[in-house]
Every structure is written in C-alpha cells, then in structure tokens.
Amino acid sequence: MADAKKAVRSLRIFLSIMLLLTFFSRTLYQATLPQVTAVSISGGYLTLNIPVQNPLINSELTIDYVLCVENLSSPLKVKRIYGQINQMYEKDSALVEFDSYRGAYALKQAEIEYEEAETALKLWRQSFDQRIRDIQKRTDELHSAGEASMEEIRMLNEERKLMEQDGIHNGSSLTTLETRYNEAKRICNVLSELSEDDWILNAPDKLWLTSLNVEKEGEYWGIEPVFSYVPDGGDLYVGVSTCLSEEMIKAAEQIVMYDGRGKRSAAWAFDHMEQIGENCLLWAVSVGENAELPENDLYFRLETGYYDSLVPLDAVFGEQIYLVKERDGSWGQTEQYVCRVDGKRIIEDDQYVLFETAEPLRDAMVVVDWDRPFEDGDAVVLKER
C-alpha cells in the first residue's frame, strides 16, 4: 500500500513535469531552431555578356543586355540593350553594325544562285518545248505512214500527256525548278534592299530591335526576335535569341530538322540558324507571302522537363539551393523547414543566377542567410528579408 502511494506521488510529479515542459515546449523549441532569411523567387535582372560572331555581324561586336524577370509567369524581357562599348541603345533603336564586305559577298552569292536558278529554268523550258515539238513532228510523220505505226503514236501521246500534266522532263520537275528560282529571287531581292548604307541600321522600318522575349508557356519556350526586318507585309525575320541551355539549342535544331523548309506555312522554318557564343542563337526565318503566322509568334518546343528560375546569387550553394517549405508540426500546426533542391547554374551575373531545376520554383521562398548551420529537412524559423 505504501508502494502504491509512493507510485501515485511519483506519477503525479512525472506528469506535472511533462505538463510544465509541454506548456513551454514551443518557446523552448523555437529558441533552438536556426533562423533563416528567405526571399521569394519572383523577379530581378540578369546582365549578360554575349559575344556575337556571325558572318553578317561584325565579329568584334559584343552585345551586353539586361534580362528582366518580372516574375516567373511573365516573359524574360530585354528592357535595354547595350551595344558597343559605352554606347546605350534604347528599345527600337539599332545596334547592329553589319560587315559590309560580308554583306556584299552574301548578296553576290544570292545573285549567282538567282542567275543559276533562272538559267536552269530557262534551259529546262527550252528543252521541254523542243521535246514537245519533236513529239508533234514524229506523230505527224507516223500518221502519214499508216496503221502499222499506231502503237508508237500511242506511246508518244502518253509521253506528251505526262510531260504536260506532271511537268517532269529529263528527270527534273518544273515545280522544283520554279521553287528554287522564286526562292533565289526572293533572297536576292531582300539582300539587295539592304543596301550598303543600311548595314549600319537606324531606321525602324529596316532591321530594328523589337524586343527579346524569352517566354515559357507550358512546355514551350517562346523567343521573339531581337532585330526584325519586315519589308512590306513580312518576309524575312532575323533575330538573335538567347539560348538558356544546351538542351534548348538541341531542341531548336531538332525542330529545324523536323519541320524542314517545306512546311513553313504550318510552322516557321529556319533559313539560317547557328549558335553564336555559349548561350546565344542567331536565327533567320522566312515566311511565305500567304503564310499564316503562328498566334504566339515563334516557339521552340522544349521537352527537357526542366524549369529555369532567377535566383539570388547568395542563395545558390554550388549546385543547390534551400527552399523554405511548410509541413505539419508536432502539434498539428504548420512549421517551416528547409528543403534542398539540386539544380544547375545556367548563367549568372553578380546578383542573380539563372538556375535550372526539375521542379518549378514559382513564388518559392529561398534561403539567403542563416544564423546557424542546418541540414535538409531541418525545421527553421523564417525571417523574411
């Protein structure tokens, strides 16, 4: 009985201590947690230096530009573009100086191609007409010879019919030759319009800066041209676009291969595309006169499965960042904890890093400072900057 009384007393003391600790547990617990400062991944500017080297562009030109991410749902936009050293260009002002020698060379090549296409077409037509005349002459001769030549007459008629209907002669198609000729003529016209004086551009109706929009909608990256030339209704677009990762360049190349030049009414086809610099792509697309432009301008389809976000530089440790997330706490309330996210640095300046991750980081809180070390999964006290 004495034991039972002692046990009751001990149990009371034990429960009282536990109750007391429980009352103060939250305060005591919070005091032991690391305090972290976190910022929301929402916006910022990224300054890049992209050396541009291209046959049509002066190889010494360096374009420095500022990417602005207002938030992740908005496109990356170029607000200002810096051209050559100490020279600032506002939107809609020109900044590209073309190499006139290479420009003239390009025009000459286009003219040669135009002449060759024209000659090929002319020769084909002459040969075609000659063959038609020969068939006509031989048919007349056979008719006069009598019924014994009826089989040959029938064969000649069939040959003539095929030539006139399908336009095929000597293994060449009239359609192919005409397409080559029209294309060469078009390119020649475009290039000749860009006269030598126009290589240094400042006229908004020639080659001018519109904007650089790197836009992501679902699985699509949209890239609007930086410099556009649209003579009377639209024919040739030239652009310099940022490529934010190697995967993007590969994806763009695949599209070129897939679409080819023949499907440009359904999708844009690239007349010219090449990578310039590590993260930059120069491209030119031509659109047929009656082609319908895609509603969302130009899109590269990307299926990399990664997301790019602009993260403050001091939030990235090597190839990882720490996000502050919420979970159920011990008493059912929500508590903050840190969650490590591995990723890849794409490009960065002295303030931000374009960080590629497997999960979207829209509006996520990323740790930029802390008062004591922590590990992945540790509960923390959040201190917003």
């Binding site: 149990l11 617990y29 706490g329």
Partner: protein
C-alpha cells in the same frame, strides 16, 4: 539432494530474471551516454556492451525535452489514447461481463463462446476488417480509430465474466429483488466486488494501448497524431534520443504497475483459479 535442487532452480531463475531485465538496464544506462559513445558501442560489430556511461551525460534528455517538441506531443497523444481506451474498456467490459454472467439472458453461452473465439484471433486477422470499418465510418486518421477497437476488445469481457464467477449468486439475486434495478446492482454490489479485476484490466489495457505500434501505423496518416510508441521507432540514427525516449516511455507504465500491482496479482490469481 533436495537442497541442491532448490539452489540450482534458484540460480537458473536468477539468470533468467537478469536476462529479462538486461534490455531495460541497457536502455536506462544508455540514456546517460553521449551519442558518440552509443555509436561506438552499438554500431560496431565487435564492440563490447558497456553499462557504465563514460562520461555520464544528460544531453540526450535535454535534446529530447527541450530541443524537440515532437516527443511531448507524442507523449500526450499516447496518454489521451490510453486513458480513453482504458476508461471505455473498463466500462464496456463491466457492463457486458455482468450481462453475460447472468445465466437468465438468452444466448449468453453462445455470446461467451463468440467472445472467447474472437479473443483467440490474432491481431493480423482482425486488422483488415477493423481498418475497412474505420474507413467506412470516417474515423481514419483520428485517435478514435485506435480508441474504439481498444474499448471493445474481448479480453476485458472475458476477464470480467471469469472474475464474476466467484461472486455469490444469492447476494446478486437478493439485491435484484431488493432494488429491481440491474444498474444499481452493478454499481453498488458487483462493481466494488470486482474492483481488483477492473484495476488489473485497466493496467493490462493501458500497457497494451501504450505499447501499440501496428494499429497507429495503419490507422493514422498524419505524423503529428502518432503516439509515442510509433514516434520512438522513427528517431532514425539518433540513438541517444531513442534511449532517453525509451526510458521516459517506460516510466508511466512502471508507476502504474507500482500503483496497481497488488490488484493486478489478485485479479489474475482469482481469474486463474476460476479458469
């Protein structure tokens, strides 16, 4: 010869007792060791088990109680579940036991057989039907998913019936004639007489509820609702916390045993005699 036999039996029982209490002693001693020391003992295959901490450290208790509120939350979860289960089990067992003990109730024999049969079924057999029922009535992820099956466990009823066999039928019949209220008879006559069995049942049920692991693992989804028994299993590699947590985990059961050990022994003894 007889003396030597008695001595050898005594020695053998002493060794058995030591073996049985060794884990508890190890846990108690380990709770005063540092994490490094515990790792050096338990994570090396060739390390020798030590009982004396060197140095004695209360760091694990500090970390358990002051730098982690999960333990306290789980402790009160366990307390609530156990208290509700014990209260419900005792009430249900007393009433049902009294009803089935009275031979005048039709089908009481069959019911007793059913209770005995259900009691013999292992937990793994009744687990799935229990789980499905709990989900159907919307109690999944709630403490009641653990309390209700515990309240209606057949062991208590069986224990009560066995214990009531020792009561005098004449007294009960006389009481019924006197009051004509079975409730009053249960409260004023049967209740006080079966109190040792009730305490024994309370202690057994408390220990069972306090120690359960599988049921909360199946019935609860949110980690913050987990009782201590389950939370202790999730301490991971932190041996110091686990040892200190295990000592505090055993404490209430030990005190309760000290409180009710006489009743427990008396209750089990009388039930055993009747059985």
């Amino acid at each position: 010869m007889r003396k030597w036999f008695g001595l050898s039996v005594y020695m053998m029982l002493t060794v058995c007792a030591c073996l049985f209490t060794l884990p508890i002693i190890l846990v108690f001693c380990g709770s005063f060791m540092s994490q490094t020391e515990l790792k050096s003992i338990y994570e090396k295959a060739d390390a020798f088990v030590r009982l004396i901490p060197s140095p004695v450290s209360t760091e694990s208790y500090y970390r358990l109680l002051f730098s982690n509120d999960a333990y306290l939350a789980a402790f009160w979860n366990s307390v609530l579940i156990a208290v509700y289960t014990v209260a419900g089990q005792c009430a249900v067992s007393l009433v049902v036991g009294f009803a089935l003990w009275q031979k005048s109730i039709p089908g009481s024999k069959l019911m007793k057989a059913v209770y005995a049969f259900v009691m013999l079924l292992p937990f793994q057999v009744t687990m799935l039907p229990n789980y499905m029922q709990i989900r159907q009535i919307g109690l999944y992820n709630s403490p009641w998913a653990l309390v209700l099956p515990g309240m209606f466990a057949p062991l208590g009823v069986f224990l009560m019936i066995q214990f009531m066999q020792g009561l005098s039928n004449e007294i009960i019949e006389a009481s019924l004639l006197d009051t004509s209220s079975p409730v009053q008879v249960l409260v004023y006559i049967v209740g006080p007489n079966v109190l040792p069995a009730v305490w024994a049942l309370a202690l057994i049920t408390f220990a069972e509820s306090w120690n359960m692991v599988e049921q909360p693992l199946i019935m609860l989804k949110d980690a913050w609702r987990y009782p201590l028994s389950l939370r202790l299993n999730q301490q991971g590699e932190d041996l110091a916390i686990t040892f200190a947590g295990a000592v505090l985990f055993m404490t209430p059961v030990y005190f309760l045993y000290q409180m009710f050990k006489d009743s427990l022994l008396a209750g089990i003894e009388r039930v055993g005699l009747k059985t």
